[in-house]
Symmetry: C2
Subunit: 195 residues, 2 copies
Amino acid sequence: MRQNPARRAALLDAAIEVLAREGARGLTFRAVDAEAAVPVGTATNYFSSRDELFMQVGLRFYERLEPDAGVLAAGLAGPRDRDRVTELMHDVVNRVSAFRSGYLALLELRLESTRRPALRELLSERIRADVDANIRYHEEAGLPGDATTVVLLYMALNWLILERLTLPDVFPEDGIHDLVTDVVERVLPGPGRSG
Amino acid sequence: MRQNPARRAALLDAAIEVLAREGARGLTFRAVDAEAAVPVGTATNYFSSRDELFMQVGLRFYERLEPDAGVLAAGLAGPRDRDRVTELMHDVVNRVSAFRSGYLALLELRLESTRRPALRELLSERIRADVDANIRYHEEAGLPGDATTVVLLYMALNWLILERLTLPDVFPEDGIHDLVTDVVERVLPGPGRSG
């Protein structure tokens, strides 16, 4: 069967919306077809099984959040100090939070992975690769801190995003910016650019 | 209708297992009855609606994790230094991780709360109360750090538990203990007991 890459991406984007809105059990081929407004039977032609669909959605999330080369290069212009880390962390928290359905879909996938070993293996590898890429970027850029710094930022800011997107009254929206700044300052004590 | 508190608790514990195993959509009165091995129709007599059942499960999670007064008092014996914070954090990470089905159920509830406003309100209040209680305990105990320290530990360690319970290959189990220690040392720099 001939596959159209743009249609395949559109089906995965539709699957993300279905997952976020209806949860893992709601993710059926038929629901994806309806969400993508394509004829019934289309998604079945693109994914061999529901397992395969779940896995491809996980990869699609990371594909959509991948910063382009320009953004990565811009992150390395100027001084490599704590203020730069703070800016990068604000950027990533805002970028990930703005893709709300994607983040909720990924949480659904995490929970679903406790029931699907192949999905668990794929997600573990993809997420570990993401953590490792963050560590490499941080170290190669000569930013302050080490691998543990990056892991600690990854953990704290992921939870902040989770809280923000599922229970936004726990940490009110108008305090999120300062909380991100505080996290970086606590994790990387010492002077920032002004010091 | 007469309600039996022990049976009510058993029904909520059954609901936690159903949620963790089958996800939010799988949480029906009938599934709870089956899990609790009680006659069909029992859960309906205890909870007025599925919304009510979801909310009571959220409260039950916190009820089961509440440390008893002895544990709280023991946490305050001895020096109030960073090593004490590290011990307390190891305790809480182990206690929460050991209640795997409860933690997975709470994640299901968080995602379900994006679809149920009453659940969202109740969970937000309960979780905020928990964060506030942790801050108060920390401050009243005279442990090092402040409210931001507690929030940062709450965020980082929650994500660590989430990763551990959903995708245990991202941070391998044999490194979890040291990672918790590292988190506390980064968040609270300066000498521990040995310093």
